[in-house]
Every structure is written in structure tokens, then in C-alpha cells.
Amino acid sequence: MRWWQKPASDTQITHGNRLWLYILATIIMMLLVIPTFIVIPMSFSDSQYLEFPPSNWSIRWYDVYLESPKWMQATVTSIQVGILTMLLATPLGTMAAYALYVSGHRAARAIFVCLITPMIVPVILIAIGTFYAYGRVGLNNTITGLVMAHTVLAAPLVMIVITSALRNYDLNQERVARSLGATRVKAFFVITLPQIKFSIVTAALLSFLTSFDEVIIAIFVSGGSNATLTKHMFSALRDFIDPTIAAISTIMILVSTTLLLATQFLGPRQK
């Protein structure tokens, strides 16, 4: 029997019958991925302008990026803000998720929805609001301000990841630990935390990425020496288009993909 004559699943549908599905799925995946990866060959172009496919190859735009103090400064800012956001959003989101999950209070559901609204409302609204609010208190163009705004975006992701981890966890374990002599805090750290740690790592990586990839809020509230990489890229696209952008995009895709793959590999290891 040839492979297309074999059943594709427990049903009698063969791979041959499913061929249309495989082709459709492939097309959809290509459509999703190609626009992202098209910048990769463009970044290795020798041309002055963004060009696809490149007529000549070089890595000169990587050199431009790495040797530009302005781009380096922005990169450091982005990483700094990303890490600080991660360090703030992960514990805050975890605590909120845990409290709302454990309390069983009538208002818990409403509070949860309230706390994840930053994921739902258009980011531009948050950006405008934050910009005016920060204008009053002098937080525009500061690392602190940007970290706070990014934490607002990242914490809901943490809450969703941690809540789903807690749903698969038997909270009676904590009760047992308490009956056996552990304080509530100790029961959380010794019993619960080790069992949701991979979800916490996943949530932390997602927080970092949320901040690292974010551009809209950064355009409004970051600036000067504290402008992020994404903000600089946006300005560069507007003012002068050269393949440096493609080179930076390629590096960012690499970072994002690596972190996301890391979360995927961590996920299944958690029981």
C-alpha cells in the first residue's frame, strides 16, 4: 500500500483523501510565515535600499547596526526595559492569578476581567492615556515610566498562563501541607511553586517579549537616550529606509523565536 492509500487516522480516510487539506494547511502556514521571514534575505543585501530578492549579498548592514552607538544604545534600553518588565510583571501577575483563583470570591471573576483589559483595549488608547498621565508626573522618556506601562501589558499574559497552570493543580496539596505544619506562605513556596515553575518561566519569557516587541507605547512615552529599539526602527522607516532595519528585524525574529520555542519546550515538561 502506498502512503496515500493508508488511513490517516482511526477513520478510513486515507492520506490521499486528505491531500487537499495538507495543501491548504501548507498555504496558510506559508502566508503566515513568509512576510516575517522575507526580511531575512533582505537583510543580507548589498544594496542601499530594501530590495527583494537582493541582487548582491553582504553583511554590511549588520556592521552598520553593530557599530552605530545610537542603535546600540536603543538595544540596551530595550533589553533593560524588557528585563525590568519581566521582573515586575511575573511576580505581580502570578500573585494576582493565585489570589483570584484561590479566593473563590464572587468579585474574583470581575477583578480578573478588569485586570486583563489591557490585552483587550486598543494599545493606542493605553499609549495616549499613559502619555498624558506621565506628562503630569514627569515620567515620559524615563525607563521607569516605560517599564510601568509595559508591565500593564505583560501582567495579563502572566495571569492567564498562571491561572491555567493552577487549574491543572490540586489545591488540596496546599491544604495538606498546611495541616502537616506549613504556614500558608511556606506551603505556596515549597509545594505549589515547584509544580508551576515551568509556567512561571513561560510567563516570564512572554513578559520579556511583550516589552521587547512593543512599539506603540514606546513611540509615545520613550524618547531621547531612553528610546527603545522598536521606536528607533519606526522612526528610521519613516525618515530613511535602508537595510539596517532588515538586519535588526532579523535579529529580533531570532530572539523572539528562540524564546517562544523555549516556552514550547518547557510547557510539556510540566505535569
Binding site: 490540586d170 488540596n172 496539596q173 491544604r175 495538606v176 501541607a177 498546611r178 495541616s179 502537616l180 505544619g181 506549613a182 504556614t183 500558608r184 511556606k186 506551603a187 509545594i191 515547584p194 509544580q195 505535569k271
Partner: protein
């Protein structure tokens, strides 16, 4: 075996009595516990038995400290516990879900309460080994939890609950996740373990047979109140009210009338000449189906036996026993259960057959019909 007949002051170091007074817990307008008074004697095995939603688990969780009652008192010995957090109550607890720690080995699970008490390492090793030996899991200390069967997990949960020598042990339907055979085997083992440890034990179940098998006393709970607290024997043979009569075992309840001289009648049958302690006139007769027997000899002594002539309506063979429903009047049926051994001639019973059912007067149970519960 430590039993409450040893008298109260002889509180052994292994056990503490639990004294609950006026315990009330409300969820909104709903009374999960409604002014419950209960004393669990030192070293006793007491079962909280009730249907789901009766408040039995709420009561257990209040004893463990996982919910804060709205009113009342819980004392362990003389010490008031109502405000004491769970980790300072020194109570061993076994949950229905076992709640073993999957990121620790069997031995680490059992060692957990000892580590929290800063017992030194060699003593921990000894006591863990001893506890695992007690539950017959000596060889499995290094296993991880997901390598264990349901029954083994149950034993680990038990060992972990008693290894630190708590003076009170609480169990929330610990056997309900096991299959029937293993459950029955574990019931006997748990009973032996209780006798060995002598620890005051409060056990929650909705399974009446389990409660009758294991308990020194049973507290039947319904709608947040105690319906009756007594030994399995008394609970079964002298239920205090219709709820207990109906919930425990099978029963048929027949309305009784009372004549001027205080005698109880069911229709024309004289049931009881005097029942002085049951003052009310509104009473029911409770008949256990297995206490009825078929009368073949017409010259039966009616001083000893009440005779209900009737017609068989339904007949069901159930293996170890068979079950028949017999009409004894226009309105009333009697459920009747009998053995299926070769010597019993009731096998040949057919719907429509005339039959006389006898009840020994010693098996008469009279309860007040009005349910103030």
C-alpha cells in the same frame, strides 16, 4: 484499643477529645452548619455520615481550620482552636484526592511534616521507615508518586498524616476513589490502623456501609444539623427520626395510630402496647426489609410476631439476596428481603401469590413522624 469507656480524664498522649459547641457556618443565607454540638471522645473513631451538601465536609474543614465558622467553639482537649491556623492545630489530614506532592518521592512525602518540625535527619529516616512499614509500603520509599497505584497512594497519604504523631486524624472520604474490593479491604486496614495508633479520628463519608463497618460512633448529619449520634448498632436498630431511618439501610415506614390507652396500631394490626418514652401520637413504624420473614405455619405465636398478610407485587433476584414488594393494604406496600440459599423456598415466589410476612416484636422500631430536623 483506646475507647471512650476508659473515661475522659484518661486522655492518652496519643489522643485528644474534640469538643464542638454551637458551631455555625453560613454561606450567604445558607446554613452549612447550624449550631452543631458534638463531642468526639479521646481515641474514638467517629464518622460524619450524610448526603452530599449535608455539611459533613464543612464540619471536617472547620475542625482542620480551613474555614472560619461564624459562631461556636472547637476545643481540642481544653484548648480553644477556633482562631488557630491549620498549621498549628497538629492534625493529620487525608483528602479524597490524596493530595500527594508529585514533585517528591514517597519517602519525601512522608518526611515532609517531620522536616517542618525540624526533627533530626536520622530520626526522620527511622520514623519514615516505621510509618511506611505500618502501611505495608516499606520497599517503595524511593518511588515517585506517579508510579503508585490508587491503593498505594492512599497508604502514602495515610502514612504522611500520622507520621508526626498527631493526636487527631481527619479523613475526607479517603476511600471513595478506590474500586469496591480494594475499598472494603482498606476499610478493614484503616480500622486496624486506628486501633494500633489509638488516635482520635474523624472520618467523613456518604457511604453508610463504610460508616457502619468502621465506626465506634456515627454522627448522621443532614442540612447542617446532627440527626443522630450513636453507635452503628443503635443508629441502625433504633433510628431517632425518619431521616436516619431512611438514610441508613433500607426501610419501609408505615403510619401508626394510637388509641385511648396509648397502644400503637397500623390499620388493624396491634404494633405495640406501650412505648412510654415516645410521647407523641404522630408516629411511624419502621420495618427493615431483611427483618421480615415468610410465615408458613399458620399457628404462629402472635404474642411474639406481628403478621402482615399480603400479595406479592414485584420480585427481583439480586444475587446474594432477593427482594420482593408486597401489598399489605390498599395504600401500603412492604419491602421484603431474603437470602437466596438453596434451603429458602421463597425462590418460587411469583407476583400475585398470597403471602404472610412476619415481624418479630423485638424488631419493631417506632419513631416520631414529624420531622423537626
Amino acid at each position: 484499643m483506646a475507647s471512650h469507656s476508659d473515661n475522659q480524664s484518661a486522655e492518652t498522649p496519643t489522643a485528644l477529645p474534640i469538643r464542638i459547641q454551637g458551631l455555625t457556618k453560613k454561606f450567604g443565607q445558607f446554613y452549612a452548619l447550624d449550631s452543631v454540638d458534638l463531642e468526639v471522645h479521646s481515641g474514638e473513631f467517629l464518622t460524619l455520615l450524610g448526603p452530599s451538601g449535608s455539611g459533613k465536609t464543612t464540619l471536617l474543614m472547620a475542625i482542620a481550620g480551613f474555614n472560619r465558622p461564624d459562631a461556636g467553639s472547637i476545643r481540642f482537649g481544653e484548648a480553644e482552636m477556633i482562631l488557630t491556623p491549620p498549621h498549628r492545630r497538629n492534625v493529620g489530614m487525608v483528602f479524597q484526592s490524596y493530595a500527594l506532592f508529585p514533585h517528591m518521592s514517597v519517602a519525601e512525602n512522608v518526611a515532609f511534616p517531620l522536616k517542618l518540625r525540624q526533627v533530626n535527619a536520622t530520626e526522620i529516616t527511622d520514623r519514615v521507615a516505621e510509618a511506611l512499614a505500618t502501611v505495608q509500603l516499606s520497599d517503595l520509599g524511593d518511588r515517585s508518586i506517579d508510579q503508585l497505584s490508587g491503593g498505594q497512594r492512599q497508604r502514602v497519604a495515610l502514612a504522611r498524616a500520622f507520621v508526626f504523631r498527631p493526636r487527631i486524624l481527619l479523613m475526607d472520604e479517603p476511600l471513595s476513589a478506590l474500586d469496591k474490593k480494594l475499598r472494603e479491604q482498606m476499610q478493614i486496614e484503616l480500622k486496624h490502623l486506628h486501633q494500633k495508633l489509638g488516635v482520635t479520628t474523624v472520618y467523613v463519608t456518604h457511604d453508610q456501609r463504610e460508616a457502619l463497618t468502621m465506626s465506634d460512633r456515627i454522627a448522621v448529619i443532614n442540612q447542617g444539623r446532627l440527626a443522630q449520634v450513636d453507635t452503628p448498632h443503635v443508629i441502625y436498630n433504633q433510628p431517632a427520626n425518619p431521616f436516619v431511618a431512611d438514610f441508613i439501610g433500607e426501610s419501609t415506614m408505615l403510619p401508626l395510630t394510637r388509641d385511648d390507652s396509648g397502644r400503637f396500631f397500623f390499620e388493624s394490626h396491634l404494633i405495640s402496647a406501650d412505648e412510654p418514652e415516645k410521647a407523641g401520637s404522630d408516629c411511624s413504624l419502621v420495618i427493615r426489609p431483611e427483618r421480615l420473614f415468610v410465615i408458613k405455619d399458620q399457628a404462629v405465636d402472635t404474642e411474639q410476631t406481628i403478621v402482615f398478610p399480603g400479595v406479592v407485587r414485584d420480585f427481583v433476584f439480586q444475587g446474594d439476596t432477593a427482594f420482593a414488594v408486597t401489598s399489605i393494604s390498599d395504600k401500603h406496600d412492604l419491602a421484603f428481603r431474603f437470602g437466596t440459599d438453596a434451603s429458602s423456598s421463597e425462590h418460587s415466589m411469583q407476583p400475585g401469590d398470597q403471602v404472610s410476612l412476619g415481624l418479630n416484636r423485638a424488631d419493631v422500631i417506632i419513631i416520631p413522624r414529624a420531622t423537626d430536623l
